[in-house]
């Protein structure tokens, strides 16, 4: 029987100087690199394939399989790009990992690069997290100094450079093809697929793009084996992962557990919904994954469980909202986020979010017209599934799922402002003075 919580990535986050090379080495760091470099690249890929590791960036695509798509006969250089753009609302796992344990990522990057025959790898970190950049820049410098990066790593004859790259404020750059354009010094707008990045990605060369957590999981898999990884989690959702609890919980935070744990179990560990309140709705994996309610407390938090509940595991960003929260208000805020972050390339996302924000403002203000709920749903249906990339699908998901579960609250928007039904001050963690916080 596997324990409820299984800290692997987060095991040493509490150690003093956990971000330093020496600390990391003392805990067995870089052994996986030494091990991998003695294997063939194909064998390394096979271990990751066999482990059942699926991408932790949201889509859950099998990581080893992604690596194996890199064509061997393509003469161009191969690239690994780590997606550290972490900007999906609610998602907050990669940044603590990079702050506390940047060497785990560097180690994973060396192994992944070796497996795909890449000699230049990039970490694309969102710009708005200064200290994360410092820690990552330093970790890479330390790794060069120790001979884990650069020429002839550990005498293996294998060379690798890692470039730490700063984004500049754009959620869409988490989408992998937009990230590539951004990393090429362009506007971060998604590219047409095909060609897929594995065939023509960065500089039109074969490129693997993986989430921070996906790559950081690789060293432990190399060290302990595919079977070990598979001993955690479920049949199709293998291994451990980071769940991030935030919002109206007694103790928000990161919980590293086998896939398949339920929100009820996690909430128990986190001390439940904040004192005196009860769960109203929650997101399983960031705001782009359709919201769930108390009904879904016992659904396993894995890829299949969430799909069965009509949503997605996403980034496992569990945002908890209690009964004081207006679902109209949160939906509007999320829609404002998508309007702000829409890259502008395609019509439905650019124009649709602009329109939906205006509609939702009317709902919030109690000024929507009778029938506007259906109009909103119809407009959403003209956006979802019609856009260039998945951003707009996420934008629509939060609207349609909110209406699905809380239609009457939207209909209240025909007559009553949300702040009257749900005085906003009550949702805050602190006393909000009468004069502050709109409609406290």
């Amino acid at each position: 029987m596997v324990d409820k919580l299984t800290p692997v990535l987060s095991a040493n986050w509490g150690t003093d100087n956990s971000w330093k090379l020496a600390t990391h080495q003392a805990a067995g760091g870089y052994q996986a690199v030494a091990k991998a470099l003695k294997m063939t690249p194909a064998a390394v890929t096979d271990v990751v394939k066999d482990s059942g590791l699926r991408g932790r960036g949201g889509a859950g695509f099998p990581t080893g399989m992604k690596w194996s798509f890199v064509p061997k006969d393509n003469p161009n250089p191969k690239y690994l790009v780590v997606n550290a753009d972490e900007s999906e609302p609610g998602t907050c796992k990669d940044m603590p990992l990079l702050l506390a344990s940047p060497h785990t990522l560097v180690e994973g990057m060396i192994i992944a690069s070796y497996a795909i025959n890449c000699h230049t790898a990039f970490v694309y970190i969102r710009g708005e997290v200064l200290h994360v950049h410092r820690r990552m820049q330093q970790a890479v410098a330390e790794a060069y100094a120790a001979g884990y990066l650069g020429k002839n790593i550990l005498g293996s004859g294998y060379d690798l450079d890692i470039v730490v790259h700063a984004g500049a404020g754009a959620y869409i750059c988490g989408e992998e093809t937009a990230l590539l354009d951004s990393l090429e010094g362009r506007r971060g707008q998604p590219r047409l697929r095909p060609p897929f990045p594995a065939v023509a990605g960065l500089y039109a060369s074969p490129t693997v793009i993986n989430n921070v957590e996906s790559i950081a999981s690789v060293p432990s898999i190399l060290n302990n084996g595919a079977e070990w990884f598979g001993s955690m989690g479920t049949e199709k959702s293998k291994g451990y992962t980071l769940y991030s609890l935030s919002g109206h919980v007694a103790r928000p935070g990161q919980f590293e557990a086998p896939l398949g744990i339920t929100l009820r179990e996690l909430l128990d560990l986190a001390g439940g919904v904040r004192e005196g309140h009860e769960l109203k709705f929650w997101t399983p994996g960031g705001s782009s994954t359709p919201i769930l309610t108390a009904e879904h407390l016992d659904v396993p938090l894995d890829y299949e469980g969430m799909a069965g509940a009509g949503t997605m595991l996403g980034t496992k960003a569990l945002q908890i909202f209690d009964e004081t929260t207006s679902v109209v208000r949160t939906t509007l805020r999320w829609t404002e986020f998508y309007k702000h972050e829409s890259c502008g390339k395609c019509t439905p996302c650019r124009e649709g979010n602009w329109w939906m924000v205006q509609m939702l403002r009317k709902f919030e203000a109690g000024q929507a017209a009778v029938g506007d709920v259906d109009k909103l749903l119809d407009v959403a249906s003209n956006i979802g599934g019609k856009s260039f990339c998945a951003l707009a699908d996420g934008a629509v998901a939060c609207v349609t799922s909110a209406i699905r579960h809380f239609r009457s609250e939207f209909e209240d928007g025909y007559s009553t402002p949300a702040w009257e039904l749900f005085p906003y001050g009550r949702s805050a963690l602190f006393e909000v003075p009468e004069t502050q916080g709109a409609h406290a």
Binding site: P89, E184, R329, F337
Partner: protein, 238 residues
Amino acid sequence: MSGHEFQSFFPESGTVDMTDTTTNIDDTTFAELRQLASRYPEARSALLPMLHLVQSVDGRISPAGIEACAEVLGITAAQVSGVATFYTMYRRRPGGKHHIGVCTTALCAVMGGDALLEQVSEKLGIQPDETTPDGKFSLERLECNAACDFAPVMMVNWEFMDNMTPDKAQKLIDDLAADAEVKSTRGATITSWREAERVLAGFPDGRADEGPSAGEASLLGKSIADEKGWAAPKGGKS
């Protein structure tokens, strides 16, 4: 109401401020821009870091900065401008010494972010996207900053200020205004926005070792596991 107006008329969009042509860009800056360009297999990849460097030198994306990037990379100024106006971290007008961000995406907003933004805005006497006349502060309404387990969240010069309250916000601004020492909850001692931009450009400031490994929330699962004696299975064969 969401605490801000719905903007539909965009009188000054499309470009950086061309009326302010001042610049500090000199030969050293050009050398550093070239150095950034040389870090990548293809030089244009350095454009985002280069624009961060422009901000650290000029306190904004200046016309001279755009032209310098275009010159170093051999692309048109329109192409640089297209990039500079796409990303929110690039400022059109001079940022303050300290750049304050308050997250108001759904979760932070609900948990108190809206009230915090209003409070800070009132205290500084400026609206989001403005800079105080003394150049000390600029303010921004942030979208989710990947710190939701520390909500409500504020950022100073892109350093985390976790678990904010009105009192903490009050003191934070007062201390910054008084040039007192301020430490990020999960970062270094606060310096200035422009120094932060230099680090983002890729020139480390030697402060990586400041601050804790992790915040309390980040360690929560691990400490519960320790308490209960839970752990991942012991490594098997490999």
